[in-house]
């Protein structure tokens, strides 16, 4: 097992290196350096600035230094904001995104799995149809439509919740509801449908028939025998689900004006603040890669047939 974990951890390294390398060269390739605007600076000051950002060194040196800095956890100075470096902005907004993301994932997993199971057990009843109708809405309607529509109905028309806001800003926890629902919709749909089909398949499987033939209660069969097999495909879907939440949060944070990483990301991509964009991407990648790693380990723990070699 330990061997397997180490092997998987080693497997992360090339992906990370590629992300950092690609990021580095994208930034260097990008038209217009960060300080082109300040053309009229005296030569000495200009050189000083270049020295500060190490633009005077050969490209390979810069690449090495960049890599080293990132491995140390330093994402460098922002090109646009002069007061703080990238780390500061990222770690200021990351917690907000994390909270939103964790709540959204929990909602989609919890409700997705339970409505999927319900739909499978009560196949072809109104509970099935209702659950699957919600699921298909979650899958088919993009979250940048769901978000504003929810906002319009519940905030503008019914005025149950404020249109925007965030608890760290105004201390109002209720503002988290709409963004979390919006962000969880797509994953909820996919997980619900995945659970339903997986459960139906499991319930038709031979070993469930064996359990029935042994005279077991249907509830015991469901939770002791069927659940594990049902959950396997859902666990392997969690990786893409996390990626979906990360991408989705970019939109949701913009729509609901949440001071999170995603909103920052959009802003900085408009500002062409390359170091900040790249910093955000690296942080997101590390989170995603880490999540995928956990999902893999979880999967191998759930399925006894997988051997860790």
């Amino acid at each position: 097992m330990t061997k397997y974990v180490i092997k998987r951890l080693l497997g992360i390294i090339p992906t990370l290196l590629i992300i950092i390398t690609v990021s580095f060269f994208i930034v260097r390739l990008a038209p217009g350096g960060p300080f082109d605007g300040e053309r009229n600076l005296p030569e000495t000051i200009k050189r000083n600035i270049e020295a500060k950002y190490h633009f005077d060194e050969p490209l390979l040196m810069q690449y090495g230094r960049y890599m080293f800095d990132i491995l140390r956890g330093d994402l460098g100075p922002s090109y646009r904001y002069k007061d703080h470096d990238v780390n500061f902005y990222i770690f200021e907004s990351l917690p907000n995104s994390m909270i939103l993301g964790v709540i959204a994932i929990s909602i989609s997993v919890l409700f997705g799995i339970s409505s999927g199971i319900l739909a499978a057990v009560k196949q072809n009843t109104w509970a099935d149809y209702l659950g699957m109708a919600f699921a298909i809405v979650g899958i088919s309607v993009p979250l940048f439509v769901i978000g504003p529509v929810l906002q319009y109905v519940f905030a503008v028309k019914l005025q149950w919740v404020p249109t925007s806001g965030w608890y760290t800003v105004d201390g109002n926890w209720i503002t988290i509801i709409l963004p979390a629902i919006t962000l969880s919709a797509a994953n909820f749909g996919t997980i619900a449908r995945l659970t339903r089909s997986s459960m139906l398949e499991t319930l038709r499987s031979d070993y469930i028939r064996t359990a029935k033939a042994k005279g077991m209660k249907s509830s015991t069969i469901l939770f002791k025998h069927a659940l594990k097999g049902t959950l396997l495909p859902i666990v392997s879907y969690l990786g893409p689900a996390f990626a979906g939440v990360v991408t989705g949060s970019v939109v949701v944070e913009s729509v609901f004006r949440i001071p999170g990483l995603g909103k920052f990301f959009v802003q900085s991509s408009f500002n062409r603040d390359y170091t900040l964009i790249v910093g955000v991407v690296i942080v997101y990648s590390v989170i995603l890669i880490f999540m995928n790693f956990i999902v893999d380990i979880l999967y191998s723990l759930l399925d006894p047939r997988i051997t860790y070699k």
Binding site: R204, Y207, R209, A213, K214, G215, R305
Partner: protein, 338 residues
């Protein structure tokens, strides 16, 4: 040796006119259409037929394990010790399943839960029907595994199914099925998925244990050779109906239905030279969707008569405990009554 059933008392299991239909997009499939048989205590009954003839559905119906929808038991009675299984409540049914009637399935590779240890699966079965502590149940599980011939049962009981070979898994299944001392054991083609060398061992094991525990067995197979060695009585099924039912010796000595005759002919035998060619029944088993009112075997039958194409034959006695459904044995009166 084969045992004669006690004629006086009611049989252990009495299936009467069982009908199980499946609703499909193409039409209604009469997978089992009005079959009847009885099974006495300790007796061994063989059900023989080609794939799709309704053997498995019959036995799943006895356990009420038919997937519904699309399947449904639409008629008949299944009397187990005088009680109709079809009218039992869910709770009473659970008491019968595994405890009174237990079952071994065709494919041992998929019939055990791959996510649970053998010990978990065996213990839960025992605890379900017997008052025992977990420890005692574990001990009993190990004993059962030893009984079915699993080496190093004490350690292997904690393994997962994928750590066993196919034959071993089928042994585990048998051990599990017999762990509650069920009165009837239904073995649904228990050897089809196994290597030929292991098949004989498994059958021998079932036979031996059934004798030892005085369990009645329903053995479903498409292999007449297997039936000959093990069963007291044989039912031959074709397209959802029993076409011939007899004592095993009688069936082999005087097969009455052309289909049975064909089946027996097609078993390869070393003692009888067959001029180098194997006998086979021509044609395909019929599609049982919306089957018309005819003898379903008539397109393949070499003794086909006109009446076979539009009317199903009545069941006729042709000897003691020997029944056959074929127009060859019907009276003129019955033939002309249409």
């Amino acid at each position: 040796m084969k045992k004669n059933t006690n004629k006086g008392s009611a049989p252990l299991l009495d299936v009467r006119n069982l009908q199980t239909y499946f609703k499909t997009d193409e039409g209604i499939v009469k997978a089992v259409d009005g079959i009847s048989f009885t099974l006495g205590e300790g007796e061994t009954l063989g059900i023989v037929g080609e794939s799709g003839s309704g053997k498995s559905v019959t036995n799943l119906s006895i356990m009420r394990l038919i997937q519904s929808p699309p399947g449904k038991i639409v008629g008949g009675q299944i009397l187990f010790e005088g009680k109709d299984i079809l009218t039992l409540s869910e709770k009473e049914l659970r008491h019968v399943r595994g405890n009174e009637i237990s079952m071994i399935f065709q494919d041992p590779m998929t019939s055990l839960n791959p996510f649970l240890r053998i010990s978990t699966q065996m213990i839960e079965t025992i605890l379900l029907h017997q008052k025992m502590t977990k420890k005692e149940a574990l001990k009993k599980s190990i004993d059962m595994l030893k009984l079915v011939g699993i080496p190093a049962a004490e350690e292997r009981v904690h393994n997962y199914p994928h750590q066993f070979s196919g034959g071993m898994r089928q042994r585990v299944m048998i051990g599990m099925a017999l762990s509650c001392e069920a009165k009837v054991l239904i073995a649904d083609e228990p050897t089809t998925a196994l290597d030929v060398t292991i098949q004989a061992q498994i059958l021998e094991l079932i036979n031996e244990l059934a004798k030892k525990l005085n369990t009645a067995v329903i053995l479903i197979t498409h292999d007449l050779g297997v039936v000959a060695g093990m069963c007291d009585t044989v039912c031959v099924m074709y397209a959802g109906k029993i076409v011939e039912k007899a004592k095993t010796e009688d069936l082999y000595a005087s097969p009455s239905h052309p289909y049975t005759f064909g089946l027996i002919q097609s078993v390869p035998r070393l003692d009888k030279a067959q001029d180098g060619k194997l006998y086979s029944i021509e044609g395909q088993p019929p599609n049982v969707i919306d089957l018309p009112e005819c003898c379903p075997f008539h397109p393949r039958c070499n003794k086909k008569m006109d009446i076979c194409t539009y009317k199903y034959p009545p069941v006729k006695k042709v000897g003691e405990n020997h029944e056959v459904a074929c127009w060859l044995y019907a009276d003129e009166k019955e033939k002309s009554s249409t």
